[in-house]
Structures are given as C-alpha cells and as structure tokens.
Symmetry: C2
Subunit: 330 residues, 2 copies
Amino acid sequence: MKALVLTKPGNLQIVEKEKPTPQQAEVLVKLKAAALNKRDQFIREGKYPNIQLDSILGSDGAGEVVEAGSSKEKKWVGKQVIINPNINWGDNDEVQSREYTILGMPTNGTFAEYVLVGADRLVEKPKHLSSEESAAFPLAGLTAYRACFHHGKISEGKNVLISGFGGGVAQFAFQFAKATGANVFVTSGSESKLEQALKMGASAAYNYKSKDWFKNSWQSKGGFDVVIDSAGGDQINDFIKVMKPSGRIVFYGATNGLPSSLDMYRMFWNQITLQGSTMGSDKEFIEMVKFVDKHKIKPIIGLVTPYENIVKALDEMAANRKTGKIVVKF
Amino acid sequence: MKALVLTKPGNLQIVEKEKPTPQQAEVLVKLKAAALNKRDQFIREGKYPNIQLDSILGSDGAGEVVEAGSSKEKKWVGKQVIINPNINWGDNDEVQSREYTILGMPTNGTFAEYVLVGADRLVEKPKHLSSEESAAFPLAGLTAYRACFHHGKISEGKNVLISGFGGGVAQFAFQFAKATGANVFVTSGSESKLEQALKMGASAAYNYKSKDWFKNSWQSKGGFDVVIDSAGGDQINDFIKVMKPSGRIVFYGATNGLPSSLDMYRMFWNQITLQGSTMGSDKEFIEMVKFVDKHKIKPIIGLVTPYENIVKALDEMAANRKTGKIVVKF
C-alpha cells in the first residue's frame, strides 16, 4: 500500500509499505479520505516531541472497515466510519494519561491506503456527511469540542469570542458555539475571513491588526463570557480586559508565543479563569460526533485534492492562505 | 463613640463619632473584638481604589446586637454575632455584582465601639470560639473558603500547596484544607513559620528562598492538585511545573507583582487552570461559619491588644513579623 512517511527530518515521501493485518480487537480501515492538521506539519518541520522516522503520518481519517482481527470485530466490516485519533487517553475525563499519544507518528496513521486501529476507535459516519467531510472532524473537532464545552462551558445566550477564525479548530469552535445558541464573535487578521464569519452568523468580527480592536468589542457588547484562543502571546491581556466577571479564557495552543506579563490583578478581582486545553477524551469524541449529527454540522472545507498531492497540500496548509480544512481523497 | 478614621491620606486617628441609629432591616452591634486585614493597611497607605476620608475603617468584627431598627430584627437583640463584611455581592454565586463593596470604607466599619449593619449580615457566633477568635474569621476566612472550595475544589486526599504560610488567608486555607482531609503542603520564607506549619500537620514545608525548592516538592510528592497563592510574580511558573495534570492554581492576590512570562505550553498540554479569586458570596459566608463550627476550627491569633492600640497594631501587621491574625479588643 502507499503511505506517507518522514524519510528523514524535513522530508516527506509517499512510499510502498506492507498492508497490515489486524489482530484481536483491531480492524483494518480502507481510507476514503484523510484531513491535514498543523500537527502533521509540525512533525515535518521537527517541531514535535519524540519524532520517529518512517512512521506513517496522519491523525484524521474516514473510510470503510474491510477486515476484522477476530469474530468480535466482524460486525464492523463494511461499515463507513470515522476514526478517533486518541491512543491511551485513559480513564480520567479530566486529563489524558501519561501514556497518551495521537494516531499518526509513532503509531502508523491515516496518510496511507489502509490503517490499523482498535475497534474501540470507530464511530459510524453520520449520514449527512460525505467521507471527505467526515475526515475533517477528528483532531480539530475534538479539540474544539473540549475547549467549548468541558472547559468553556458554552451554552445558549453566552457571548463567545473565537480568536483567529482562520484555523480549523477555531472554525469548529465557531460552529459548535453557534449550534448551542451562543452569540459568537470572531477575530482574524484577514478581512476575507472576517467576512466569511459574518456570513456564517457571527455577531461581530474584529480585525486584530487594528489597534484597540478589543476596546470596540468591549464597548459594544458588554464583554465576553468565554474566549477560545490558540495564539497566546500578549493578546491574552487584551482578552482579560474584555471578559465579563467570572469569564473563562480557554486556550489550546500558543502559536504567538508566551506573554510578557499577565494581568493577575484584574484576573483575581474579576475572578477570571485562564484554562489550558488539549484534545479530548474518548467519551467526548463520541459526544462530538453525536453533536455534529444532531445539529447537521458540515465542516468548512478549503480544498479537496487527490492523495498523491498530499505533500503539496501540506505546503498549502503551512502557507495559511486557505480558510477551512484541507482534505485528501483516495 | 470612639472610631478609627483616615483623617488625611496616611493618617489614622481615633476620633469621637455619633453613635448611629438603626433603621428598618438594620441592627446596631456593640463590638467586642475586631480583626485587622491588609485591606485596612492598603487604605491607610493610599493603595486602595476610591478612598474616602473620614469613613470608619474595619471589615472584621464580632459583638452583641444591642438595638434593632424594627420589630422584625428584634430577635437578634442580645445575640453574640459575627458580621458578614460583604455589601451588595448580588445574586450570582459565580461573581460579585458591579455594586459590590466591603464593610469599612466607604461604609462605616468595625474599628469603632458600634457598627450599623443589615440584619442579613449577621451569623451567630459558634460556641467554641471567643469573641476575639470569631472576629478573626470574616474577610480572610471567606477569601480562603472560596479559594479552597468554589475554585480549588479541594477534597479528601488531594495534594494542596499553600504558598506564603504567614498570611491570614493562607492560614485559614491551610486549616480548611486540613479539615477536609487533604494532604497540605506549605511554602514560606521564614523558618519559624515553616516549623509552625509542620507542627500543625503540614505534610511538608518548603522555604521558597532556597533555589529549586519546587524541584524537591515535585520529586517527593508527585505533584499538586491545587495551589492556593496570593504572591503572583514569576513563581507562578514554578507552580505550573509542580502541578499534576489538570491541576488548579487559585490566586487571590499578586503581592509580588506580575510574572514576566507565563508557561502556556505546559498549561495547555497538562490542562492546568489558573484561577483568580476574591472574597466569597453571602451563601459562602454562612457555609464558612458552619464549616468552622463543624470542624471546631480555631484561628491562629498572633496578637490581641486593646482597641486603643489599634494604630500600633496596624504597624505590627504591616511589619509582617507575626504569624496569625491581629485582633483588637473593646
């Protein structure tokens, strides 16, 4: 089978690998689509911990179960599935175990014609989604779901600010928050992404490149109950200024680096929460797919391209020009 | 009646004031004891917002109800009470309202022979406490109670680190956490305070002046579930290092100022919470006194001195030499 591996640091290549055989409790999934994540690019660039060469990349995938490891998994054969990319989250909903990893390096991932996964990683594909659409959800959707609900406690009527609307997680967070009936606001540095957010029902959209964007947001809307962020940096202190008392700032990344201070005075007086978040539990993965099914949510897809173009597609993602997930099709 | 007021910035003086008369829903309390808080000293030093001259200072008090504003409050007359220092917390347990203030500037406080308060501010003094002991609880006890339980979610078996064991809130937090069956650890810069904490049942005590104190704490104890802090500063990043995954750092002050960075990477990967906290709701005040009664908790008292010495007593508190609350007696 064809498989995308890191042959040496920085160098990705589609190579021939042997098709794996499922053991007990495992199934073999023939992939129909796989989606790209920043994680894949971080591994390519050597910015991820414990990189192992020659493992197959890819965390997101949807396809058909074609082989079962034992009679117990037989019921899955022929089913259209989405794959939960968690490996060893563990029993505690609050936090992943120390053995936790994500599908796609070191465990062989979804950027291949076939992938071997535990049968307990499978969720049936919702009917309203194509395989390409399904493949867009796992990693980014799970991260967004946990940030929004487990940590953000977003519910109807809350004022929610999603920063950096361009990113995959940010867009799912936007859609999930909208689906609960929250008033959703966005920031972006791109006017076209701000326009897109407004078309999708954003209550307001702010360009964070304009100085004092946060002053307007504060004055016009009375403050935010929740901010969902992955940029970090000094902007964190702007968020603290525009929170309602007892507001929650949830972040799942810090792509702009660390802040040069933290306004703890305002944080304690207004009882603000600053909450780190990452991925989500197995239980949340199942809940997320149910939520997507219930609200008939479709992902924003920026590009669908044949699997053979995957290295170019990763370049495209790294260039950060597209709104929406990038998906490869087998 | 005698009353302590700020006659001009920096200058406290005991003056003669007219004894107030309660109106409907109010009672007059003849104070038996009042306790000192950093807040009083901050007001004296001009470090508190919206300072008004000539208001009577003092947030903590215990005494006897001697006069009722109407027949409805009559049942309180003759009762020994502790005064809830919250004014206008509001209906939301999550956070104080915008009208929230604390007894003692601008509203006349407890550093006087009599104080006028709403009858709904009264809680009966637990029998195991003297008036001097009761007076030590309100402001610091309420702050500690909220930090420990509402925000810290401390329960039996948790590893809890109380930083800066010298302070009043820190000591109540220590006692409350111990009473729930948590494993309680402390830091202090003073060896005598560390010894006192060990005598009171601390699982371990660390001198934060010794470089790498946090490395020892991490290695020996597997990390903390909760940190209760009021110092802030760069130490926040040491705490982030010694938290268990999904641990909670709760702070109700930042006396060392703001940190020069924040380790957001470790925070999101380990799903750490950084939580600002201040005072507590009216409901929590009642719960706190019940908790103190149930567990027969006695405050650590550093000094009891006659009311006439109150300015000297504030000097003593500001010098930070004493462990325990400083109480004046009428």
